[in-house]
Symmetry: C2
Subunit: 421 residues, 2 copies
């Protein structure tokens, strides 16, 4: 007797998280013997808690297929972390109520490290609270900071965006430097791990190529060394292009720039590092500068997504369903690397208790000794992840992204007050 499945998107969305959704939904539709309807949570896990469910069976096949080339979270995402069982029993009991009411026997959660932790707890509902459910995590995070998996879907496309952008901006500045801008600073995402900033380094294929300097969260910012390097690059190459991670720390271990607000997970919300660094360059070196902050543009840039990333995002969605119908639970679908060049990979699995709340930082040997660029080992790791183009369809000069109908499932339960949103 088939049971229904629940799918939700969590945390910051990406250019390819909907490709994972397509992988989950299309694969679930191929297993009608095991899986009935696939119900999506509107705005992530909040949709489960508030019984705000979307009936994906009402979406035509073409709409689901179009998710593969549509950025963002088609069902809405959220930043909402379930606390431990001991601290938050009411929410787990509510989940079980909702799951029972809608006969949900499969739980697919598409997110990063915090979400892996939630998924792990849901997988334990059988043992702890007597409601057996198969919970499989679908990895997603532009930060690339999940352990075990070779990479996290969403990262490769940001990586490609950043590498392409700093190459293009580098060409621009190189041609202006004689009489105008000599220093360009691009601020990119990466709260604690420098993977995204590192990816910018792929654009530099020979000496003198942009970017000349990469600033990583893993390396404490040294103002004097930075300024000396900028000056050196301007004198040697005529200009200096910098990729700076938003998570750059000072010598005291504090974020160089904080917006002063925190997100729902209690993480500091960053931004505005690029103008800060540019001001430093102007004050101390007197060079004319420009700066850019890519912010959401980088993670939403489906127009320049990496084909490898799109394929992997779809594959982990598909694998999650296949693991569940094979009777497994408490796992994350992973990417396993078999070879660097040409890149060979397959889908694997990892126990969620080895994934949840573990943050994968850049290995020190991926960063050059001076702390300002990436090593050959890092290139070998990163380069495959940005391979291939996978352009969306265009109409009237604009990419055609799908908006689903998102038909609500009729509620069966009394309303539920969220503890904290």
């Amino acid at each position: 007797m088939p049971r229904n499945a629940f799918y939700a998107q969590s945390g910051g969305v990406t250019a390819v998280i909907n490709a994972s959704a397509a992988g989950v939904i299309e694969t679930a539709r191929r297993h009608p013997d095991k899986i009935g309807k696939l119900l999506a949570g509107r705005n992530g896990i909040i949709g489960a808690l508030t019984e705000d469910l979307i009936d994906t069976s009402q979406e035509p096949a073409e709409a689901i297929a179009a998710l593969r080339h549509t950025p963002s979270g088609a069902f809405g995402s959220c930043r909402y972390k379930l606390k431990g069982f001991d601290k938050n029993m009411a929410e787990y009991q509510r989940l079980i109520e909702v799951f029972k009411a809608h006969d949900i026997g499969y739980f697919f959660y598409n997110g990063g490290g915090d979400s892996a932790d939630t998924c792990l707890k849901v997988s334990q509902l059988g043992e702890k609270l007597g409601y057996p459910i198969q919970a499989i995590h679908v990895p997603k995070t532009v930060d690339n900071d999940l352990p075990i998996t070779d990479t996290c879907p969403g990262f490769g496309s940001v990586a490609k965006y950043v590498a392409v952008s700093i190459r293009e901006a580098g060409f621009d500045v190189a041609s202006m430097a004689k009489t105008s801008t000599k220093v360009f600073i691009l601020e990119v995402m990466g709260r604690h791990a420098g993977w995204i900033a590192a990816a910018g380094g792929l654009a530099a294929e020979k000496e003198g190529d942009s970017p000349h300097i990469i600033l990583f969260p893993e390396i404490k910012f040294d103002e004097a060394a930075f300024l000396a390097r900028v000056d050196h690059c301007v004198k040697r190459y005529g200009y200096c292009a910098v990729v700076a991670s938003e998570g750059l720390h000072n010598a005291a271990g504090e974020f160089m720039s904080e917006a002063g607000t925190k997100d729902a997970f209690g993480h500091a919300q960053l931004g505005g590092l690029a103008p800060l660094l540019a001001g430093l360059v102007k004050d101390k070196l007197k060079y004319k500068y420009h700066w850019a902050v890519a912010d959401y543009l980088q993670r939403a840039a489906r127009h320049i997504a990496a084909k490898t990333d799109v394929d992997q995002a779809y594959a982990v969605g598909k694998a999650a369903v296949e693991l569940a119908v094979a009777g497994k639970s408490g796992l994350m679908a992973t990417i396993v690397r078999h070879a660097d060049a040409p890149y060979a990979w397959s889908v694997g699995e990892a126990p969620l208790d080895q994934v949840a709340n573990v943050e994968k930082k850049m290995p020190r040997d991926f960063i050059t000794a001076d702390g300002f660029h990436i090593t050959e080992a890092c290139r070998r790791y990163l380069s495959p992840l940005i391979q291939g183009e996978d352009y969306p369809p265009y109409r009237n000069g604009l990419p055609q992204y799908v908006e689903l109908r998102n038909a609500p499932v009729v509620k069966k339960l009394a309303p539920f007050e969220l503890g904290k949103v």
Copy 2:
């Protein structure tokens, strides 16, 4: 007896100015009876003044063809404006010296309004200083502010970048808005004219689409009206996406944000409007926000260039040479629109004295009555300009842009001290 030609790039570079260069060079090579070598100025007109010339005949045909898909200025550009004859005779006499020494009879100048003025003055060297030369201007500016021509090559690709980016970011914010970011602000270029910001409006094809608000330099910023509109959008659509022109003015007519430095033409260098507006939203409306500043990324984004723009950039370069070999001078090659949909255009010509130092602003009827969006008339004008994709070739996941050899021409004259760089 063929004479040599001079070509230079001026002002801010674009994603397609090199496509114009390809049009000039490839067409010049097809007229060996009239044009000998095509010499490019290294770093624009400064290359002419300092006799720093590049022999483009040493570049293989494939390298010149690759310019068509390479952003930035392959020979270097500059921000350097020649003053009037009365104020700056030494520089004009120097130009003639260099032109004579290298037998230059054709002058092709690829730039915006300031450059059109320089090109006009060069076209008058015969009449004023007895050195006949045929000077043709090749239009280029992301600002789209040159008169007469239907559009300026460089603009269509920025327009496409901005429209694509705000659509993608809008999808992102829409999926995060329930528990996280509700307001997103993208700052785009456009010092005095709102064409680039307006192009963002093309992404909004139906009510509720991103962007919800566009802030134009042509409309004085009204804080209360802006905040009320942001609040309205968040309440009605769940989120609010804003495209803001860097050139936004306050009620007193001052730039909302000034970096405090000026470029070589004396224009204020702007930047940092987005964080300013975001701070306003946070303080007054308490909404969670994100902001991006695209800066050079937008004008260098050859990876998402509009095919229409690339074709037009090449066409005006080609036409400039054809006008010159037909014996004309003192003209700018223009784009002439024959129909909106489907877009039909051809190349025309305009006298430079009607072009130089005239700035084309947005007509008021291209902006909605409330000042926050574009009208149907504006859409009819803008939409054709972003049509078509023209992807560069990729290798290892990165666009393959060409770097020319830029072999120097042997100098024949004594050095020349620039008046001011």
